[in-house]
């Protein structure tokens, strides 16, 4: 934002104020950035140096034993594969279901719309609870499958409403023109509405993707087969082992190993994040406006 020079005759007080703002923001930046950086550094510092405390900012020497350990001695690859399957299939399914539900609900003249919306919003504020949901997942036959980590949470009503309100904000004349030209609802959705809704679709996709990538509880609730463990569960076990919480096993992972596992788990999110950042700000703002 460029301020108008004429109005902003910088007095000494103003300058001090601006400086204070910059300094406070600098400190806040470090509060967020330093822990992340420190994890990265600790993942490449030899364990004995971490213990000695020679790692303060710059590691004394660089090692990749942490990474080679997690690749060779843990089944992180299997869980990595599980998480990728969950994320890819889940995101595709969630997006399809949400868009298909949001589009009809954005039609103000659709009979029964108000009732359906009420029923959907109600589920955001009241749920059957853990055990009743568990019973349903079990009875439907999803228990102990990868699907248990995808289907029960596939539709986020909140995300669906974000898409719906974006659709609603589209100029009605545009959609009417499409219908006059003989475009059916399905074609209108695919050829006209979706290409124009990129910002909201991208931000909702990011929310779904991150949600699936961080899958943890649906495994804890609905699965017990160890080969189905998603990445976050394995990561938790690797970190917990050192605290002596998990069953005693052959080896206690060092800080280096634990931090390597964290970095490995975060890489995809950190890679995707910068590309989608400009979209999700819009998505959140939309949510703020529409409530």
């Amino acid at each position: 934002m460029v301020r108008k020079k004429g109005l902003m005759t910088a007095t000494a007080g103003e300058k001090v104020f601006d400086l204070c703002v910059l300094v406070i923001l600098g400190i806040l930046f470090l509060c967020w950035f330093f822990p992340l950086l420190y994890v990265l550094l600790a993942s490449v510092t030899p364990y004995k140096d971490v213990i000695k405390g020679s790692l303060v900012i710059i590691p004394s020497s660089v090692t990749f034993t942490g990474y080679s350990y997690i690749f060779n001695f843990t089944n992180i690859f299997l869980s990595f594969r599980n998480t990728i399957v969950i994320t890819v299939v889940g995101t595709a399914l969630s997006m399809a279901v949400s868009v298909l539900l949001a589009f009809p609900l954005s039609k103000k003249e659709l009979p029964g719309r108000a009732l359906l919306l009420k029923l959907l919003v109600f589920t955001m504020y009241f749920s059957g609870g853990l055990i009743p949901t568990y019973m349903v997942v079990k009875n439907v036959g999803l228990q102990n499958t990868l699907w248990a980590m995808i289907i029960p949470g596939a539709l986020s009503v909140y995300n669906m409403l974000l898409i719906k309100s974006y659709f609603e904000s589209m100029p009605a004349a545009l959609l009417d023109a499409a219908i006059i030209d003989g475009c059916g609802p399905a074609r209108t959705l695919i050829q006209i509405v979706l290409p124009l809704s990129l910002p909201v679709l991208m931000s909702v996709m990011l929310f779904y993707m991150v949600g699936y990538w961080n899958t943890y509880y649906s495994y804890v609730y609905y699965c017990y087969d160890k080969t189905l463990r998603p990445l976050q569960v394995v990561l938790h076990e690797i970190i917990r082992k050192a605290t002596g919480e998990a069953e005693a096993e052959e080896y206690i992972p060092t800080i280096t190993v634990q931090m390597s596992a964290i970095v490995f788990t975060c890489i995809p999110i950190i890679c995707v994040y910068p590309f989608l950042q400009k979209y999700f700000t819009k998505g959140v703002m939309l949510g703020a406006i529409k409530g």
Binding site: G13, L110, V233
Partner: protein, 312 residues
């Protein structure tokens, strides 16, 4: 005759609208099936709260509790109920208050920053933790707070003090939850406030400046009133979460040593339900929690609508 005419018209209208909108209804089927199966079907399972559940007999076949409120009585008579309620309310309330204050403060400071690239860098890094899982944040906390090799422990040792295991300390556990909660969420929550600040009419600031208002006065008299309605709306929304102290976070962070300060209703529901397999008791406690949460949201929203600031 008088009665039958509108009735026929109604069914007529129904058929016509189905014929006209059937593609739209067809589109909604997958989503509605998901909601019906995983949101509404479990609501039937709530009857478990009033049943003496026997695995072999199923939900329907199991006998009713004698008396019907047996599970609730069991919960409130147990020594845990007081501790669970206290922990849940304290943690949830403190989190809500601090998270709101932190997000507004961050948005205010970012809004005052005039160096746009600097602002963008800070924003980018502040949103980042929102996308990290609680397991990852637990790992980062562990790196700083663990007894043997944590950063804080080393600093304490260097200062000649005996390090404690911060992750198993009842004094530190709750502050640890608050700090990590704020670290994770503040950046992302500030987006909404920044958005509503950017919609404040800039001529207000110019007029205030001409009248000789300083920066702080402008924040106090223009920016803060400008985000008032957003703030109130978000407060209403968070009232419903007053019974949810954050299972996602606490389940990952806690251990038996900190049950005293960190065990909440949701973690209890999980342990009793899926670890001890006491379905009836777990469902009852969960129902108690969900019902209160829902009543609170409903009541606040009614009240807010009365003042003209409802959320739906």
């Amino acid at each position: 005759m008088y009665v039958s005419v509108p009735r026929r018209r109604l069914s007529d209208r129904f058929i016509r609208s189905v014929r006209k909108y059937w593609i739209y209804y067809a589109m909604m089927i997958p989503g509605l099936i998901l909601v019906a199966t995983f949101s509404y079907a479990p609501m039937y399972g709530i009857v478990l709260a009033f049943k003496n559940f026997k695995m072999k007999k199923g939900i329907l076949g199991s006998p009713w509790m004698e008396p019907w409120y047996g599970h609730f009585k069991m919960f409130f008579d147990s020594p845990y109920s007081g501790r669970l309620l206290r922990n849940t309310l304290i943690i949830a309330l403190t989190k809500v208050v601090w998270a709101k204050v932190a997000a507004v403060l961050l948005a205010l400071i970012l809004n005052e920053c005039r160096v746009s690239w600097y602002k963008r860098v800070v924003q980018t890094v502040s949103y980042m933790p929102h996308f990290l899982s609680w397991v990852v944040i637990y790992g980062i906390t562990y790196l700083f707070a663990s007894e043997s090799s944590g950063y804080i422990g080393r600093v304490m040792r260097a200062m000649g003090r005996q390090p404690v295991n911060l992750l198993s300390s009842n004094q530190v556990f709750r502050p640890l939850l608050y700090i990590t909660h704020i670290w994770k969420g503040t950046g992302f929550s500030s987006i909404i406030y920044l958005a509503s600040m950017s919609s404040i009419d800039p001529t207000l600031y110019e007029a205030a400046q001409v009248d000789g208002a300083g920066r702080i006065q402008r924040i106090w008299h223009i920016t803060l009133p400008g985000i008032r309605s957003t703030f109130i709306m978000l407060c209403i929304i968070s009232v419903g979460s007053i019974m949810s102290a954050g299972f996602d976070q606490i389940y990952v962070f806690y251990n038996e040593l900190v049950y005293e300060t960190g065990d909440i209703i949701d973690t209890y529901v999980y342990r009793v339900g899926l670890e001890d397999m006491r379905f009836g008791l777990s469902t009852a406690v969960g129902l108690f929690k969900n019902a209160i949460g829902f009543i609170l949201v409903y009541a606040t929203n009614r009240l807010a609508q009365h003042w003209g600031e409802g959320i739906w």
